[in-house]
């Protein structure tokens, strides 16, 4: 299977581990990724607050390139980018006049059937799960983990069409298939406050604290994420949160692709586990992983 691949700005910097682990996993599973040539920022952080048209035009500029590369399906691992792409496509599909305007702006006529997918949607397909379950590789057995989906993958459902808006299950099914003990909890789609990372850190600390606390209360020893902004907040701000709330979590925050990689036997170096702020090896040693 061959997909266009839009890494987005985060996966080239703060979320390098996500990029590396996704590529490693896809390589093992025979999924080919073709990076969108000359991709531009999707405008995620700011365009929507400044100009409605720019917020649509930036993602479409990249989608035009996808079609020029002769591809119809694009994988977007960053939940914030995924949301902007889904919104842009939803807007032009529902407003023919805007579509004409935007096709003029990005200098491309869109065909039918372009699909924007999050890697979870591909990895948690029934046939993919069956393939993973049949692999004779180290399993995640014994790792007590909660799956954190964050805000933008599932919401709003009319736009993202991802799993269930309030109670998504795809990552849970995926990690269960790899042997992990996936725990139920109440914070799977809560907000970590990512948009205030650089500004109102007080809000980030409070929201991320609630999530970490929720994970601890059900007895998790790790959190799996599917968004570079969620991972960064929960991981790099964890020490600050512990100081602020006078507690200790020491919860490693994995990308779901890193856990997949480990289960598929990818060396931990290739998954960049050493880049984490909270020691990511401890939980794995516990389940007998390198």
């Amino acid at each position: 299977m061959r997909y266009a691949y839009y890494p987005g700005c985060s996966l080239h910097s703060t979320g390098k581990e996500y990029d590396a682990s996704l590529r490693a996993v896809c390589l093992r599973l025979g999924i080919e990724l073709a990076e969108v040539k000359g991709w531009v920022c999707c405008g995620s952080a700011a365009a929507h607050a400044a100009s409605r048209r720019l917020a649509v035009a930036l993602p479409l500029k990249n989608l035009a390139q996808v079609e020029r590369q002769g591809l119809k399906e694009m994988l977007v691992p960053c939940a914030a980018c995924f949301s902007r792409f889904k919104f842009a496509w939803h807007e032009i599909e529902s407003q023919p006049e805007l579509r004409r305007e935007m096709e003029d702006v990005v200098e491309h006529q869109f065909g039918d059937g372009l699909r924007i997918l999050h890697p979870l949607e591909v990895m948690a397909r029934d046939e993919q799960l069956a393939q993973l379950a049949s692999l004779k590789s180290p399993s995640l057995a014994g790792l007590r983990v909660v799956c954190y989906y964050g805000c933008l993958l599932t919401r709003p459902p009319e736009v993202t069409h991802f799993d269930d808006a309030e109670y998504p299950q795809s990552m849970d099914r995926l990690l269960s298939a790899l042997g992990a003990s996936v725990l139920d909890w109440g914070y799977r789609t809560d907000c970590c406050g990512a948009s205030f990372s650089l500004t109102r850190t007080d809000i980030v600390l409070k929201l991320s604290h609630d999530i970490l606390e929720g994970a601890r209360q059900v007895g998790a020893e790790a959190i799996a994420t599917a968004c570079p902004l969620c991972q960064l907040n929960l991981d790099s701000r964890q020490r600050e949160i512990e100081a602020e709330y006078g507690t200790r979590y020491n919860l490693p925050i994995y990308y779901f692709t890193q856990l997949m990689g480990l289960a598929l036997g990818v060396p931990s170096r290739e998954l960049m586990l050493e880049k984490h702020f909270v020691d990511a090896r401890r939980a794995l040693e516990k389940v007998g992983m390198p």
Binding site: T14, G38, C41, A55, L58, V106, S195, R200
Partner: protein, 230 residues
């Protein structure tokens, strides 16, 4: 007679006397609702009532720019219950929507709420009337940025401003550049210095920007801006 003057419109309402409403007639809300532009009329409990659907010029302006009709909100406050940042806002989302339909433009654009909305889409997902509050917030922020109103949360306004400049300058987000720009804007030079240093050490922040798509990004930004007459 109640007269409500909000700067944009003068609204006149006949006050209901208690004896006008007979309790045993049930809820006096059996009218038909039409979309903005039409009027809401109804009849219940022997009282004829009529509310103009387009309540304020400011509400109309918001609908024009965002497509969001605030008049269909029936103030159930489900948006507030689910909002993760409501605790930090000066007006809750539902209060802000109501302020829009009252035409309280200065209050709305000067509020902290429009900058503290995290765009997490919880309210939009749960609203029984499908009021797209996040889209409304986006439009209100854009109005505030353009009108030059002093932001109640200047660091967040500065973040939006700096991020956009960053995209224009580099085509892709250059985090170090963004952080530097933001520090110049907020004058908080010491904020997160330690964390930033660790990120650099771990190789999680690029030292230099990527210019791979600079031309393409500039072209889209300028063509999209031209459409909006800027």
């Amino acid at each position: 007679m109640i007269i409500c003057n909000n700067g944009d419109d003068v609204l006149e309402f006949e006050a209901l006397e208690d004896e006008d409403v007979e309790e045993d007639e049930g809820l006096p809300l059996q009218g038909e609702r039409t979309r903005a532009g039409g009027a809401v009329t109804g009849r219940g409990a022997e009282v004829e009532w009529q509310v103009p659907a387009a309540v304020s010029a400011f509400g109309d302006l918001l609908e024009e720019t965002s497509g969001v009709d605030t008049n269909v909100c029936y103030q159930c406050r489900k948006c507030v219950s689910g909002c993760p940042v409501a605790y930090a806002m000066d007006y809750t989302p539902v209060q802000l929507l109501h302020a829009v339909r009252l035409g309280l433009k200065d209050l709305v654009l000067g509020s902290a709420t429009i900058w503290l909305c995290a765009s997490c889409e919880t309210c939009v997902t749960r609203c029984p009337q499908k009021v797209d509050i996040v889209k409304a917030m986006d439009s209100l922020r854009a109005m505030a940025l353009r009108s030059g109103v002093k932001s109640a949360v200047p660091e967040v306004a500065g973040f939006y401003h700096s991020s956009l400049q960053n995209i224009r300058l580099f085509g892709r987000m250059y985090e170090l550049g963004l952080i530097a720009q933001l520090k110049l804007y907020t004058r908080q030079f010491l904020k997160d210095l330690d964390l930033g240093g660790q990120m650099l050490k771990k190789g999680k922040l690029r030292l230099l920007p990527e210019f791979a798509s600079l031309g393409a990004a500039r072209r889209v930004v300028s063509r999209a801006s031209k459409l909006e007459g800027r």
